[in-house]
Amino acid sequence: MKRTFILLLLLSGLLMAQSYYFGRNKVQYTRFDWQVMKTSHFDIYYYPEMEDIARKGAAFAEEAFRELQPRFNHYINRRIPLIFYSTHLHFQQTNITPGFIPEGVGGFFEFIKGRVVIPSNGNLSKFRHVIRHELVHVFMHGKVRGSLRDHRLVDGPFPPLWFTEGLAEFWSTRWDAQGEMIIKDAVLNNYELGLKNIYVVNGTFSMYKIGQHVLMYIRDHFGEDKILQILNVLWKHESFEDAFKEVLGMDYAAFDRRYLYALKKKYYPLMADHDFNSQTSRAVEETGYNFKPVYYRHGAEEAVVFVGNHSGYSSIFLKPLNAQDGEEAESEVLIKGEATSDFESFHIFDSRISINKEGVLAFSSKSGGNDVLYLYDIPGRRVIQKIELNKEGHRQLVGIYSPSWSADGRRLVFSGLSSSGYKDLYLYDLNTKALKNLTRDIYDDFDPVFTPDGRIIFASDRGAYGDEGYSNLFICDSSGARIRYLTFGRQRDTAPAISADGRLLAFTSDRQQTNNLFLIRDPLKDKKHELQQLTHAIGTIFDPAWTPEGDLLFSTFEGRRFQIRLYEDVLRKMKTLPARSVVMKPGRADGWTFPGIDSAGVQANQPYIREYTLDVAQSQVSQDPIFGTTGGAAFAFSDIMSNDQYTILVYNNARTSSDFLRSFNFAVNHISLEKKVNYAVGLFRFAGQYFNPQDAFYFEDRSGASFAISYPLSQFSRIAFSHSLSYSDKTWAFGRRRFAWLNASFLSFVHDNAIWLPTGPIEGWRFNLSIGNTYDFAFNNVNYMTGLLDFRYYQRLSLRGTYAVRLYSLFNEGKEARQFYFGGSWDLRGVPRWSLHGQRIFLLSQELRFPLIDGIGINTPFLSLGFTSIRGALFVDAGNAWNGRLEKIRGSYGFGARLPLGFLVLRWDIGKRTDFRDFDQGNFTQFFFGWDF
């Protein structure tokens, strides 16, 4: 119990101050001057730079609130905290969730305080969509919990993720090409799932879209009202499927039979006049996830350079196009991303790359709190320039996307996301280092490319139907003036790619619910343009790029993979394709806007004042045969931004009432996460009976204050310092007593860039070096040094195989130096848990980790169980714990299996013990819950 509380304290205290033993840092690069705008139903938190978009967001939120009330037949009787960030890079710094936020997360709803946190990504329609999406979660959560409360039920089933996310999509946006991409690919590649097997894609984007599609099917075949009915009756049932069955009259299996049949009826006829890209184009890269291809030639070498993720780290790859001897060439990693502070993220979904005639690759990457531009010399395989625009006086520019070279190689045009939350076109002159803002408005301008004559073609939602989420192609001169339409209509035209001679423009468009390749001949001439549809593909097409021979590289989602492919002989094929004119409707070509919330709708607008509310309250009473009864409670409070946190722990282990004060324990901590430097200060008193092998039973009363500070050097490494000053009164069971004024200081350096599989790290390295000193400055009863080295390295051998090595050493040296426990599955396997102890510890562990069983299922009439990603390991351990002189090294070797069980991993090891002279006769077996080192 005592250990539990102390652990709780540590977890809620120093750990929340990001002083984890390992782990990456969520770095607060930006200071936000938070303001609060109070509207009818929301408290909207924003910072002054983004006030305009925050007012629009407020209007979106109130609009969504009005629309969702009748849909849920529900009302939220509390003010909803809505926290806006103007960019995703700012959003990733939020402390409202302690975890790291991946690029694909567009916002989230946090249950404890009911907070909704949403960034702008420069597109107002998407901003509105995400606000509505998250508010659907708010209403659904309120509806389900309210229904339970009405019936005086404390707990009950909650809808599964496919339903919650599917409904959030269904009631916040229309069915689009991305959804169609997921469903169509699944049906025509024979891996459609239905509800019975949807757990296979749980938590993925596919699950969102399948959930949305299932709910559309329910609307069309059972009535939209049934969806709300499921929520209405959910309180009565043990499981969501039971409620589903009550309302729709069928269980998942019966529903799947109807639904999957309907999918086949709808999509199979497409095969008559549509083709898989695998049948009409040449494969270039099919491994992993691949996007944004560009053509590269150096001498006789022809290659494609692209952004991809083959192993867990997003990187920039080069792959030769003309392989020798008919063998497929290997992709070469040009720049490894997500492992160093220079290349934290390449925005692989959003940002294109560009190569000039000299073979210099221009790309953007997150580095610290902002994006920076990089110029990379491909022949020399080195970065030749890092352009940090925020350090060149352009502090408002946070995000940089899709840099594109001018024909002369002296200028770059890119799409920039500013701290206002809007995305515009920028032109950067490499010679003069001048940055020019070409467009300065509320529209989302993206995917810019220079034309050979120095103009710029780009995609934008500034067109007539942009407020509905559609985008068209535009052309402007290099100053950003004379913007005019190249395409027009209610569709998403994106990714323009112009041929080197400027005579052909390729782009993608979802005019038929799926992204296909389209062409415009002579796009630079001031005449009426004609469109040709180049592909009628089943797989969705992205990011076309020309080769000098007139072929088109592109990426595609087909067969569950994002591939790079080459569409050949475009010039010949296009001769036979029908062409049709771009039809303009001038009446709608005058732009649009979303009004912000009007002043009557704002009840107050004021600076943010911290108010603390309860996050966690937990109490516990336990009985221990040796230490007796212990009771206590832990509380955590934080402000709405979770920047400031307080943790309070109280417990008592008195055996008699007279012992109450003597056995009263508490710890109070204040943790600040608001700035780049995190710190924690606290007071504590721990008093009670303890046991360790060195001292046997003893009573210690220790009171004092603590201070900890953590400075992140980057996302991957930090320096941490902690200090405590305390008074210790220790009485041994045999009667000895000593007093001490303890001064303890620790300094640590931590690095972690490892990436994980479900059972443990697979690649990267982690390192913790700590030194400390504890001494009694009043009586000199205690004085010892502490050292810790924990180094772990993971050398990837294949996609799912790795060699892992751990070097671990601890020492305490000096007067009353404490001993460490050692042994067990967590460190030295084959030795009973914590059976060794000493002031020094040494361990060298090596493991070969490999996939063992990808999936196993047990079906009985009563129970069905399934396990996936079971992994195996061969291990060798060597180490010991000792005092004085190391006399022998213990060791073990053997085989293990790791079974992921959601948030825990069951580890099983079998092996033999050895002292490296002899081997034990028998085998040992150990079970443990925890990840691989």
Binding site: R66, E67, Q69, P70, R71, N73, H74, Y75, N77, R149, D150, H151, R152, G223, D225, Q229, K236
Partner: protein
Amino acid sequence: MKYLMLTMLMLLAFSCARPRLNRAPAMPSAGRKTPAMLKGLTAIKEARRLEIGHNAIPRLFRREHLLFYLTLDGYFYQVNLNTLESEGDIRINEGMRGTAALDYPLLYFSTARGNEGVSVYDLNRARVVREEPLGTSVSSMLLAGDRLVHCAADGRITVLMTPSLKSAWSVELGQDIVADALIDGENLIVGGRDGRLASYRLRDGRLNWSIDVPDAFYTGPLLSQKALYWAAYSGTVYGINTDTGQKEHTFPGSTPVYQSPVDNDSLLFVPYADGRLIAFYKKNGRALWARQLDGPFSAPLLLTANALYCSQMSEKFYILSPENGTILHEQKLSGRSLSAPLQWKKRLFLFLSPGTIQEYKDAE
């Protein structure tokens, strides 16, 4: 001493066996005035309150000064409206659906979960005395003379004789029944979720007429003289002749309706789930006025001669003028009003979450 102990034990056992009702509720005839004929309150002020601690079902019933407060989680409270005190309570089951029918001391109801069909609870004996497995029902029991009507959720309509619960007749509507049926003189009118409305002769179950409306319905039809008004999920309200079953009017709408409309001689008041309340002329379907209230409606409307009471999920309570929709009074409540308001002797009672009876007095 031994006899004393024995006597005490017997008394204890006897008291445990009895329902915790102070006295049997009187069974006077129901009030002859319908609420629409009563003079309503146009301004109210808070008076007493009684904390019950359990949420009320959507419609409660009253006999004189006695309120029979049934809860969603299966409690029965007998409340004296004069003193606003509970005279006793009984745990009947684990939850109720719809409104129970009371023929004292027998209470007929559908359970929210657990056994399926009709349960008959004897308030004197404090236990379930009969259960008829007629299928799950989510709508109210109806009692008309010696006939008890049970509409199962799967569409089976069963009329039973009371108190024997012998089946008089049974028919299939052909679709799910999710809203309350109603009695129109000698006839029973039942609406299905998918738009089938049927009239049966209560005596023998003979079908008088039926009509299929292409819509989804979560409200029961409203009976008004010779017309039925039936509000659909789509927001459309259909006016249907009770004699012929012919559709006569259509009142347009585009937002779901989850509470049944109310009416007076000339107007039909339709509460939409977005908080709009529209008064239509019954004769021509034209809107007289519309009023946007705060949030969806949380409880059935109550219409008096001069006041329309509206309860919202936003914990607001409005009193409107039926003539022109003017808000005569607006009140922020301490909880969500879950059950139809009750007006009695110049006093108004609201039934609020999480289980409070709030009394209001006339403020004028």
